[in-house]
């Protein structure tokens, strides 16, 4: 037996342990009835707040499937089908397929024989929320190690069965055979089919930081057979025929339909409700009121929709009014003391270098509140029965939902089961799981399961927003045209709603949020450039939410970074133009990281970039053309975008004609899946740069549907050209969101190249561009 085998501790589990661990992907124990309360139960605060190496291991209690039990991760059926359980969830990016590839690869089974179960709190390991493009970066290695541990156990069983040492065994398509004795073979199904492994593995740390089975050596990347292949997504055929079941398709016996009633403004105090206003609508079960929460439960969905619309609710005048304008928020960001500072980089003496420099630059950049804009508004079903509850949701953090619901109902966590059912793509929006809480309040009130889907207006107005941000930037260059100082300060708001804080319904029924919210970081401020005096700071400006407000905030695809990279890469471009140097050449002067340099060169080559300073020479005719570049690195993923735009001189209308993107995220698990994600990021980036701003004034939200808040459509779609830089020797970093960060600056830089006008505020609406052009013309005149 080799050393690896000796290290992995094997012991028989008692029935009690089995019950507690229910490693039970396979065995259908009822957690709710089987598991007694134990003294070991303890609270886990929100993700990110928990340091590694906690003194007592939070998963060693029956509230969680125990990650130190191999059966918690995988099972093998008699027919050889392998089931992998993961706490990660698919939010439309295709990780179900990618995780299946990883498991198939490590276990040496055909991809088609792997099934992935995601996010059910009673039968998957808590691997942390699905966010930050971390599912494959962090969840992937955990699952690979668990699969490697499973493979090793299977080999040990085969060794005993075939009478040959593990070293002499080889696995092909789930069949273990003895090298040189082809007749001696046994299938995985025959070895363990339908039974549990009953084996302990090591798991330390929690959630995304968990280290799983380090005692087992997984395959070398050179031996990957399934990972790296453009395997077709397993979920697509059913999604194209109506056979796929999303959250909104969950129907449970006796289910009623609920809708919530909320104003377009800040919610203050208790509203007055005139129930007689809906007396003519048939099928109303109950008008539910609790604190400032108002909802309707009805027998049919249409009755609930009509009732929620017709119900006469008079909301008290908000005490804390929404700000008058985006500029008023910008002023607040400028003037308010930071609650927490994050440092991206801080070296040299920036202030002294700028003070003594002869050529200096200074600028300020603005980014508005933006929304996720899920195509399907959020939806959940809850069934609250006494002190127990079952919830069906597409939440990005099913365990967070479970913990919040348990807290709402004041019951132990194990009394709440959350089943993950995929929803409409959410881009961070479902880190705040509002409808689960709405459904719980309604179900508790009527004692029956209730399905709640938000209406379009609910989603636009009340979905938490990506925060408004403001950046101030200063720089100095020397006589050789090289940056000697760079000072980039981001002033942003924390995410008040997406880190396990009380959600909307909870707050309406009286739960106060005592947390500041999670800061949105400092990365993306130009820290990847080599500059002698270099400071990048992210300042978290408090965003008090005394009353629930439509400008509640949460993480939105690459949170904080599209704004910061818009600022930093626009500023880089301003400096390059200011010293009369080509935008790419200027960036390369300040880059040392080989991967970044190669990505920049790959994008430039693919786009046919011709070296010249910006702006382009003025053109005759109604259309001005320009090109712009932006470069960034987000959590080890490198992205370079080159946008080509046309600006209509008479109207200021910008259209993006082509985007070339170079992408390096280390090992590519599924190149076709990745390309799909990159298309998506480009479209998302174009849409947010040109069109999107959540609008409001003290009278309330002004963005409440797709007409008042448009997003990109087919006619606005640019040509896309993607270069994938595969680096199999580097572990995979994220692919689902980093590339969105470079799109805004690449567009703004292209607009500057086209018309010689710098737009420092998103979105680049025709009016804004035209005004800037007119202002520039006026200065010249």
């Amino acid at each position: 037996m080799d050393k690896r085998n000796q290290k992995s501790e094997k012991k028989q589990l008692s029935r009690r342990e089995l019950l507690q661990n229910t490693g039970a992907l396979l065995v259908g124990f009822n957690l709710l009835s089987e598991l007694p309360l134990t003294a070991q139960q303890q609270e886990i605060p929100g993700i990110g707040a928990v340091p590694d190496g906690m003194s007592s291991y939070p998963y060693a209690n029956p509230d969680y499937l125990d990650p130190t039990v191999l059966d918690s991760w995988l099972s093998v059926q008699a027919d050889g089908m392998v089931t992998i359980g993961t706490g990660k969830v698919d939010i439309g990016t295709g990780i179900e397929t990618a995780i299946g590839q990883i498991a198939a690869d490590e276990l040496d089974v055909p991809f088609e024989r792997v099934r992935v179960i995601m996010g059910d709190t009673h039968r998957t390991v808590d691997q942390g929320r699905t966010a930050g493009s971390q599912s494959l970066a962090r969840g992937g290695p955990q699952l690979r190690q668990a699969a490697a541990a499973g493979r090793l156990e299977l080999l040990k069983l085969a060794s005993a069965r075939l009478g040959a040492p593990v070293e002499r065994l080889v696995v092909t398509d789930g069949v273990v055979s003895v090298i040189g004795e082809a007749s001696k073979k046994v299938t995985y199904g025959e070895l363990i089919g339908g039974k549990q492994f009953n084996v302990k593995i090591t798991a330390t740390g929690i959630q995304g930081a968990m280290v799983v089975a380090p005692e087992v050596k997984a395959k070398n990347y050179k031996d990957y057979k399934v990972v790296g292949k453009p395997i077709r997504r397993v979920d697509l055929p059913a999604k194209l025929t109506g056979e796929f079941k999303y959250t909104s398709d969950v129907r449970v016996p006796g289910m009623l339909h609920g809708r919530v009633v909320r104003p377009r403004n800040v919610i203050t105090g208790t509203p007055t409700v005139d129930e007689s206003s809906i007396s003519k609508i048939a099928g109303i079960v109950k008008v539910v009121r609790e604190g400032s929460f108002v909802g309707v439960v009805a027998k049919t969905e249409w009755a609930a929709i009509q009732a929620a619309k017709a119900l006469k609710v008079t909301w008290p005048e908000p005490v804390h009014k929404m700000p008058a304008t985006q500029e008023a928020v910008a002023d607040y960001l400028r003037k308010t003391k930071s609650a927490r500072d994050a440092t991206g980089i801080n070296k040299g003496d920036v202030d002294a270098a700028i003070a003594s420099a002869s050529k200096k630059f200074e600028a300020e950049y603005h980014w508005p509140f933006q929304m996720h804009g899920m195509m399907g508004p959020c939806c959940a079903v809850a069934d609250v029965r006494g002190d127990k509850a079952t919830v069906w949701t597409g939440a990005q953090g099913p365990f967070t939902t479970r913990d919040r619901v348990a807290s709402m109902l004041k019951v132990p966590k194990r009394n709440v089961v959350v089943n993950f059912v995929e929803s409409s793509g959410s881009y961070g929006r479902l880190t705040a799981d509002d409808t689960s809480e709405d459904a719980v309040v309604l179900s508790r009130a009527v004692g029956k399961p209730v399905r709640v889907q938000w209406m379009r207006e609910d989603e636009h107005v009340w979905g938490p927003k990506g925060p408004q941000q403001l950046q101030t930037a200063r720089a100095a260059v020397n006589a050789e045209g090289k940056l000697i100082a760079w000072d980039f300060q981001d002033h942003g708001l924390p995410w008040t709603e997406s880190q396990g804080t009380p959600q909307l319904a909870e707050r309406q029924i009286g739960v106060k949020s005592t947390l500041l919210g999670n800061p949105n970081g400092a990365n993306g401020g130009g820290e990847h450039y080599e500059i002698e005096n270099h400071r990048v700071m992210g300042r978290t400006i408090p965003w008090p939410q005394d009353d629930p407000s439509p400008i509640r905030t949460s993480a939105l695809r690459s949170p904080g970074e599209p704004p910061r990279v818009f600022g930093s890469e626009s500023f880089m471009d301003e400096v390059a133009a200011g010293v009369g140097v080509d935008a790419i050449e200027f960036r390369l002067r300040h880059l040392k990281n080989k991967r970044i340099i190669e990505a920049v060169q790959a994008a430039a080559q693919k786009a046919g970039w011709v070296s010249r300073p910006s702006p382009a020479p003025a053109s005759d005719g109604p259309i001005a053309k320009g090109r712009g570049v932006a470069v960034a690195m987000r959590i080890n993923t490198i992205i370079v975008a080159i946008s080509e735009v046309e600006v209509e001189k008479a109207t200021g209308h910008v259209s993006v004609k082509k985007v070339t993107l170079a992408h390096d995220c280390g090992l590519i698990v599924n190149p076709d899946g990745l390309r799909g994600q990159l298309d998506g990021n480009i479209m998302h980036g174009v849409s947010r740069t040109l069109l999107e701003e959540f609008r409001f004034d003290p009278s309330g939200a002004k963005s409440f549907d797709w007409a008042s808040h448009p997003v990109i459509r087919f006619m606005q779609v640019p040509e896309v050209d993607v270069v994938l830089l595969n680096r199999p020797e580097i572990p995979p970093s994220g692919g689902a969101e980093p590339s969105v960060v470079v799109i805004p600056a690449s567009i703004a830089n292209a607009v500057h190249d086209a018309i010689g006008v710098r737009i420092r505020q998103v979105p680049l609406t025709p009016q804004r561009v035209l005004s800037a052009m007119q202002a520039k013309a006026a200065t010249r005149a």
Binding site: G92, T93, G94, R232, R233, D235, L236, P237, A238, K239, L240, T241, G242, E243, F244, K245, Y246, S248, D249, R251, A282, T300, E301, W302, A303, I305, G373, M374, M375, G376, P377, S423, S424, G425, S426, Y427, Q453, M455, R456, D672, G673, G676, Q677, D679, G680, N681, I682, M683, H684, S687, D705, W706, A707, V711, I712, R713, F714, M715, V717, V720
Partner: protein, 157 residues
Amino acid sequence: MAKISLNVNGKSHAVDVDPTTPLLYVLRNDLELNGPRFGCGLAQCGACSVIVDGRAVRSCVTPVRTVEKKAITTLEGLGTTAKPHAVQQAFIDEQAVQCGYCMNGMVINAKVFLDWTPNPTEQDIKEVMDPILCRCGTHPRITRAIIRAAQYMKAKA
């Protein structure tokens, strides 16, 4: 409430519903057809599209009584995973889906469009599909899938 008879995917169904109910909720909740989806309820996104007498309509704003006795086809009526319609197969072959929530609108509208326009240009496709929203940004692949679907449909014809 009223008894209404509907012809959906070639089968007739009798439902007892408020006749003002939009077709979407009857298809989803009474007939348990999940293809048509709720996206906006305002005819602004296309996720709820169904085919009524050969035309794509937004079922979220179509009162059920107005489609009585008409031929209604939903996504389920086009094909199944075992036997997909040419448009569905083309979308699978282009892997033109991310979250998939908008796919009902994409496939239904593409199907009707191709019935009328067997040889579309890329520009035609973009113009016709412009009102159908996708938030994942799958547009380039959807456009390619519709071009491919046109070829599949011609090959079958």
